[in-house]
């Protein structure tokens, strides 16, 4: 007890988040993690308990560093088109870009703790749109807009460089007309 950790935990979690975002939970082996994080296998188990423990820490970090700051910025957008364009451009981006979408598809159906983190990230986006739309808009509208952003982001993963802004701006145009 009380022995100092032999590595920077935050750096290790970020490196893990990048790996998980690139290869998924199943596709990332403990060998991959030990190699990329530069830590002893024993230290990795001692600090995180399991690969799943490290995965949850990585997803938590991605939410705190990338997803939630972006949704806060979206909530402060001046109008709906700006909010949608911002979200379509940068939701679930950063060093571990795509980790939230990947977690939603791969691990959330199997692991309630992952599902809770994914839900937190999705709910934050919906809440941001609710704020921009104002009290009068029906809540399902914010959900529909968030779903559109997710779809555009997912489409962007399949076709690199495909701009998502045009699609959401067309939607915003129709909604605000």
């Amino acid at each position: 007890m009380g022995r100092p950790r032999a590595f920077d935990e935050d750096e290790a979690v970020e490196a893990a988040a990048r790996l998980f975002a690139a290869h998924g939970f199943e596709g990332t082996s403990v060998d991959d993690l030990v190699g990329a994080l530069g830590v002893h296998r024993g230290s990795l188990y001692k600090v995180f308990g399991s690969k799943r423990g490290l995965y949850l820490a990585a997803l938590r970090r991605h939410l705190d560093r990338d997803v939630l700051p972006l949704t806060r910025a979206v909530a402060e957008a001046a109008h709906l088109p700006a909010a949608l364009a911002q979200a379509a451009a940068a939701y679930d981006s950063g060093p571990a870009a795509g980790l939230l979408l990947l977690s939603a598809a791969e691990r959330a159906p199997l692991d309630p703790d992952t599902a809770a983190l994914v839900e937190e990230g999705l709910a934050a986006l919906e809440a941001a749109f609710t704020g921009v739309l104002g009290e009068d808009a029906p809540p399902p509208l914010a959900e529909a807009l968030a779903a559109t952003v997710l779809g555009v982001r997912l489409r962007g993963r399949a076709t690199e460089g495909r701009p998502g802004a045009a699609a959401v701006l067309a939607l915003a145009d129709r909604l605000t007309r």
């Binding site: 024993g42 001692k46 799943r52």
Partner: protein
């Protein structure tokens, strides 16, 4: 090969067949409160095992028994790396167990589900 099961709030690791002899141990019982996680980890077999404190180590054939590595006690029972599962413990004699099971994915799911049920039944300080 070992068999993992959950009885009440305890993880039971049953060492099967002749491995009881090689490992000098037939059964471990770990309260779920002391189980921190389980991970399928075939690659761990290629790491240094540390110093054998009791049991059998024929590199590439079998690692079974109690080993001491980097100040930690680790229990091993692995022939085939593909089935290796790491169970990380707290407040136990062993820091971790590395055991070969028939279905690593199912074993990990079993331990995680048991940990989740245990935690849900005892809301902690969060």
């Amino acid at each position: 090969m070992a068999q993992l099961s959950i009885v009440d709030d305890t993880l039971i690791v049953e060492v099967e067949g002749l491995d009881k002899l090689w490992a000098l141990k037939s059964r471990l019982e770990i309260p779920l409160a002391n189980v921190r996680g389980a991970t399928a980890d075939p690659g761990i077999v290629h790491d240094s095992k540390g110093i054998r404190m009791g049991g059998t180590h024929l590199p590439g054939v079998i690692t079974a028994g109690t080993f001491r590595s980097q100040g930690e006690w680790v229990f091993w029972d692995v022939h085939n790396p593909a089935g290796a599962v790491v169970v990380e413990l707290a407040d136990e004699r062993y820091s971790r167990l590395v055991v070969e099971v028939a279905d690593p994915r199912a074993a990990v799911a079993l331990v995680e589900a048991a940990m989740r049920a245990y935690a849900a039944a005892r809301p902690g300080p969060a």
